[in-house]
């Protein structure tokens, strides 16, 4: 017992003697089941691995919360969630200008880390499911995107596939998938159900991968995803249903890079981001050396 107490005191004292190093970059990321994680890995890290020291949290809100309380932190996440942290301008490379993630810049694609958000269905959507998708892609639906913090698709890209009448008595649509898109889906469902009494739409999150798995298991009508479906997943779906997965772009999202409000940094390049998240760069002071 005495030994335990002694050990406890010694370890507490040794912990107490450690000093916070404000220069260390503390990088936060999403968990690896997230579509945002996959997108970041492909778009920013050129498919290289995240460093093992990168901390991962369940949910964009958790990442933002952690960054807002940690003066040496950096994180990324869907722009609709950003609050209480400082968003950085992003440079594609050293020569290009630093771009802010605003509506125009995301829609005209000058912001380098923007992406599409998707709906997936098994085969072309029919009946009530198609009606809902068509409505979401119409002006009222796209306006809601903006309200929630995402960006509408450019006019020419709002393509609604399918057109069959489908089973007439279907009154419930289930939608499952990306956590990034849950709020958007819920807002769409609210407005849509208000206009059309009798139709029920259920929206749940869980992550893009979870949604795709649900689609493959036949547990959902529409899968929301913040990343493209993988080849293996498409193959599984085809084997199970004999139909291809149909991809529908429904909105655009900019991936915001953010730091603590007291951080003097205002812009960051993709190269610098890559160095931070692959573990090559661990110091805020030396970050400027990378162009």
């Amino acid at each position: 017992m005495k030994k335990t107490l002694l050990f406890l005191t010694v370890s507490l004292v040794s912990v107490g003697c450690k000093k916070k190093d404000p220069d260390t970059i503390v990088a936060y990321s999403r968990e690896n089941n997230s579509g945002t994680y996959m997108y970041f890995k492909e778009r920013v890290l050129d498919n290289k691995d995240f460093a093992s020291g990168v901390q991962t949290l369940p949910g964009t809100a958790a990442v933002i919360n952690a960054v807002s309380k940690d003066s040496s932190a950096i994180g990324y996440g869907g722009i609709g969630y950003v609050k209480g942290v400082k968003t950085l301008k992003v440079k594609k490379d050293a020569a290009s200008p630093a771009v802010e993630p605003t509506l125009e810049n995301v829609v005209n694609k000058s912001y380098p880390i923007s992406r599409y958000l998707y709906f997936y269905t098994v085969g072309e959507p029919e009946g009530i499911v198609r009606e809902f998708i068509a409505w979401a892609l119409g002006d009222p639906g796209q306006k809601i995107c903006e309200e929630v913090g995402y960006y509408p698709l450019p006019q020419g890209e709002r393509i609604v596939p399918g057109g069959g009448a489908g089973a007439g008595d279907k009154k419930t649509i289930t939608v499952k998938g990306s956590d990034t898109m849950v709020i958007l889906g819920q807002r769409w469902a609210e407005h849509y159900m208000k206009d059309r009494p009798g139709v029920t739409i259920q929206i749940t999150g869980g992550g893009s991968g979870t949604g795709i798995a649900a689609l493959i298991n036949g547990a959902t009508d529409i899968c929301q995803a913040s990343r493209e479906m993988k080849k293996a997943e498409r193959k599984q779906l085809l084997e199970k249903f004999g139909k291809d997965a149909v991809e529908i772009r429904v909105a655009m999202d900019g991936l915001a890079i953010f730091v603590h409000e007291t951080n003097p940094l205002t812009e960051i390049s993709l190269e610098q981001l890559r160095a931070i998240y692959t573990g090559k760069m661990k110091s805020w002071k030396e970050l400027a050396a990378i162009k």
């Binding site: 335990t4 370890s11 912990v15 450690k18 901390q55």
Partner: protein, 327 residues
């Protein structure tokens, strides 16, 4: 006369309701055992391909789970061009946080148990005990969120740590979940020590502290130790608190001020995304099996130790009891 005494002892014809009740109780017992067995079989079945299947072995083998990768590092990176699975960082992380949590929880829980059973007045005991037990009812996700948002900042400021989320933060959060379990079981064990033990000790001139520490605690040791084993089981398997407060970085480090990734949090975070039947899927179940085996072995060892303690105590307690009763 014999007939009436039979009916008094309820040995005659049993009432149908009784029979139903007995059947119900008996089957509940069997259901518990059966479900445990089924879970074990399911986890084992899904984990087995890691050891046997050639298809899985193209990506991961039992050897690659434990030896360092080519660059000499231990990496857990399942979502990658070349998936890398290494158990060691997860195992070390899990044990690291469990040890921190137990170092905090056990002294507090046992101290509180000794206080309420030996020192506190009755009315205070009746307040403290339900409150501590209420702590057990707080959902772990709430504790985890609290640790992530509030406690992490406190710990960081108090110790001046570089990383906000680390094994100390998670360990403190975890200890909140462990304390009620250890406390309740230990308190029951201490209270169950017969009053003559205390009377005898006090009569022989020992003060209350000596009585509690040298007589009551040793007498209750089997129960107290069992409480600690239960606490360990809870700490090592706890998921939400660790998932939220640990930072989940799979680094191989013994430093409690660094972020870590635990086995349970890894399963929780990755199982939702994994492609059914893939190597990753089987590895996650293998992790579950590892956790199961650790808990099982520890429980077994705990059981063995407790029964040894009990035997030892009973050997001695004859004398003690005799002297106490002699009063």
């Amino acid at each position: 006369m014999p007939r009436s005494s039979d009916s008094l002892l309820l040995k005659g014809r049993r009432r149908p309701l009784e029979r139903v009740a007995e059947l119900f109780i008996r089957s509940s017992g069997l259901i518990v055992i059966a479900s445990l067995l089924l879970i074990f079989i399911f986890v084992g079945k899904e984990a087995l391909p890691v050891l046997t299947s050639g298809e899985v072995h193209q990506e991961v083998t039992p050897k690659s789970l434990s030896v360092p990768q080519e660059n000499g590092e231990y990496v857990w990176q399942p979502v990658s061009e070349i998936p890398k699975y290494n158990l060691l960082p997860l195992l070390v992380g899990t044990l690291k946080v469990t040890i921190v949590a137990l170092l905090l929880a056990i002294p507090i829980a046992i101290g509180a148990a000794i206080f309420t059973s030996e020192f506190s007045p009755q009315w205070m005991r009746e307040i403290i005990k339900p409150i501590v037990e209420l702590l057990a009812g707080i959902p772990s996700v709430v504790i985890g969120f609290f640790a992530l948002l509030v406690m992490a900042s406190w710990v960081q400021d108090a110790f001046g740590l570089t990383f906000r989320l680390n094994a100390i933060t998670a360990g403190i959060g975890l200890s909140l979940a462990v304390i009620p379990i250890v406390y309740t079981v230990a308190e029951d064990a201490l209270s169950a020590v017969p009053q003559p033990f205390r009377d005898g000790s006090l009569a022989l001139g020992a003060n209350r502290w000596q009585t509690a520490w040298r007589v009551v605690l040793p007498a209750a040791m089997p129960g107290v130790f069992a409480a600690c084993v239960l606490g360990f089981g809870r700490a090592i398997g706890e998921t939400m608190i660790v998932l939220m407060a640990s930072g989940n970085a799979a680094t191989l480090s013994l430093d409690p001020t660094e972020s870590f990734r635990s086995i349970s949090a890894t399963i929780a975070a990755e199982l939702g995304e994994v492609v059914l039947g893939s190597a990753h899927y089987h590895v996650l179940f293998f992790l579950g099996a590892v956790l199961f085996v650790i808990t099982f072995l520890l429980n077994l060892a705990g059981h063995w130790y407790v029964s040894r303690l009990r035997d030892k105590l009973q050997g001695k307690s004859k004398f003690k009891k005799a002297s106490a009763v002699g009063l």
